[in-house]
């Protein structure tokens, strides 16, 4: 099972996206766990993630996080997909990066 963790500044707007992604994953039968957290809890929540997705509003943290977790996949969510809460699109790009 893959663990996908989304981060934004407070974990509020990403949690909406998580709901949409979960629905798509369920429909597709993709075995994964998706969570949303605030960036402040990165050090507690990131270690057991397979892929870290960042909300576009905090995208400037990408480099730092990549350096912090070099073994993990890190991706900034596309702005339009994020704004349109496109769960399918985001899940697909995450899967692609994970190689699934």
């Amino acid at each position: 099972m893959k663990k996908i963790v989304l981060f934004c500044s407070q974990g509020m707007s990403t949690s909406l996206l998580v709901n949409k992604m979960e629905k798509v994953a369920e429909k597709e039968g993709y075995d994964c766990k998706i969570e949303a957290h605030n960036l402040a809890s990165l050090s507690q929540k990131a270690p057991d993630a397979d892929i870290i997705l960042l909300g576009p509003q905090i995208r400037f943290n990408e480099k730092k996080i990549k350096k912090q977790y070099p073994e993990k996949k890190v991706m900034v969510i596309d702005m339009l997909m994020y704004g349109r809460m496109d769960g399918k699109g985001v899940l697909e790009s995450a899967k692609k990066l994970l190689g699934d």
Binding site: S9, M12, Q57, N61, K63, M79, G83
Partner: protein, 441 residues
């Protein structure tokens, strides 16, 4: 050119967000917030439920409900226990956060920082006897002005200084006392920490002592007077606040969380102002500040940064664009809880010159409007910090301790916002039409 500017803005935001101390301050205030919310809600309960003071619109003043007064001590005590210890809280949280960023997770570090901070506080106070007018020195007492929001700035400075000193000393290993291998590891560790801890506390206490010897004024008073007071005057004044709000939306235009990014600067000041208001409200005195933390939540970022509730109204009344209406529908449930990322990234507002103008203009204008409505006494001054996700109307009602004028003002703020966004939505209609014509051609 656009690309270059965009990269420049990103660089600024990255620096501000990534900067160790600013990030630690921001996270500490985020963790302090629940305490502030609990504290201010206790005051709200006291005043609207249990108070039997004459003239209060409280439930206990309704005939037959007077028994509610009996549970008041519970709220008063909880309020005292939270609102009066914000400085202590920030010292502990900040030392912990900053230490962690250096990879130092010593559980004792927050207490060392606290010791350093308290060493800068006066523990004797001079009071004047109300009867004889005689000055009496009371020793062995820590005034609440050192533990509550008035101490936030000095608290932040000493927590940062203490953590910096301590982490460097611990990392340098020069001070560590080498124990033979036969000594249990934990015993050796306790000694390892002892010297850095002692040096840290003595260094800060020493700086405080030398400062007072030379300047003749305590370091605490000097920071409060020459740093905290001027900064607070600027940000709690209307022009300074309008500039601050403008900067937050400017950052959002580049897709950066503006309010969050500038929190390290705004939070200590706006929370100290709120604490003053809240204390006055609890004591039944005149409320000192118009602008404080809840003013931002209530009038400048209500329905989301840029007061986009008005944008939603404008879209549903006037937009002919299918894409706008689709995003709009998606954005309503978020907007109710003052979240608007769907609009910001979906329409998008980010890097969209047409919508950027009203987005930056609206909160500045609504802040000025709300300031005016509050200063003429129509809207009650804000005394309670409701969570920022509290919906429109309810938020103002709670924050003002039940002022209907504040509720009306908050609704007007959203209507003003709708009026400002409308011409731009009409222009977006025309823009879409032109695009279609071009596509056909």
């Amino acid at each position: 050119m656009k690309e270059k500017f965009m990269n420049g803005m990103l660089a600024v935001a990255t620096t501000m967000n990534g900067q160790r101390h600013l990030a630690a301050i921001r996270n500490s205030f985020m963790n302090l917030l629940p305490i502030i919310i609990i504290g201010s809600f206790c005051t709200l309960f006291t005043n609207v439920v249990t108070s039997t003071k004459e003239g209060f619109m409280s439930i206990a003043n309704i005939p037959g409900m007077g028994f509610l007064e009996n549970i008041q001590p519970m709220f008063t005590a909880a309020n005292y226990a939270t609102m009066n210890f914000l400085a202590i809280g920030i010292v502990i949280l900040l030392a912990n956060e900053l230490g962690e960023s250096y990879g130092i997770k010593d559980k004792g570090l927050p207490l060392i920082a606290l010791g350093a901070y308290i060493s800068l506080c006066a523990t004797t106070i001079v009071i004047t006897s109300s009867g004889s007018g005689e000055a009496i020195t009371v020793s062995n007492i820590l005034s609440s002005s050192y533990t509550n929001a008035q101490g936030l700035f000095v608290g932040m400075f000493s927590a940062i200084a203490a953590t910096e000193i301590y982490c460097r000393l611990v990392k340098s290993k020069k001070l560590a006392i080498n124990m033979p291998d036969s000594v249990p590891a934990n015993v050796a560790r306790s000694f390892e920490i002892l010297f850095p801890a002692a040096i840290t506390i003595l260094a800060i206490s020493g700086i405080g002592m030398v400062f007072e010897m030379i300047v003749g004024m305590s370091l605490f008073d000097a920071i409060a007077k020459f740093v905290q007071a001027p900064l607070s005057n600027v940000l709690t004044g209307l022009p300074g606040f309008m500039f601050f709000v403008f900067m937050t939306t400017l950052l959002w235009i580049f897709g950066i969380h503006g309010t969050q990014t500038l929190k390290a600067v705004s939070e200590p000041i706006l929370i100290a102002a709120l604490a003053q208001n809240e204390a006055a409200y609890a004591a039944g005195q005149a409320i000192p500040n118009i602008i404080s933390r809840p003013f931002l939540n209530n009038y400048a970022i209500v329905t989301g940064a840029g007061v986009t509730g008005g944008l939603l109204i404008a879209i549903f009344l006037f937009s002919k664009r299918k894409d706008y209406r689709t995003i709009g529908k998606l954005a309503i449930p978020c907007g109710i809880f003052n979240i608007n990322e769907p609009l910001i990234f979906g329409l998008p507002i980010v890097l969209n010159p047409l919508l950027a103008i009203p987005f930056m203009l609206t909160p500045v204008i609504t802040s000025a409007f709300a300031y005016f409505m509050t200063s003429i006494g129509f809207a009650g001054r804000l005394v309670v910090n409701a969570p920022w996700t509290t919906p429109l109307g309810i938020q103002a009602f709670l924050a003002s301790g039940g002022s209907i004028g504040a509720v009306v003002t908050q609704i007007l703020v959203v209507l003003i916002s709708a009026a400002i966004y409308t011409p731009f939505i009409l222009a977006a209609n025309r823009q879409a039409e032109n695009d279609e014509v071009e596509e056909v051609a």
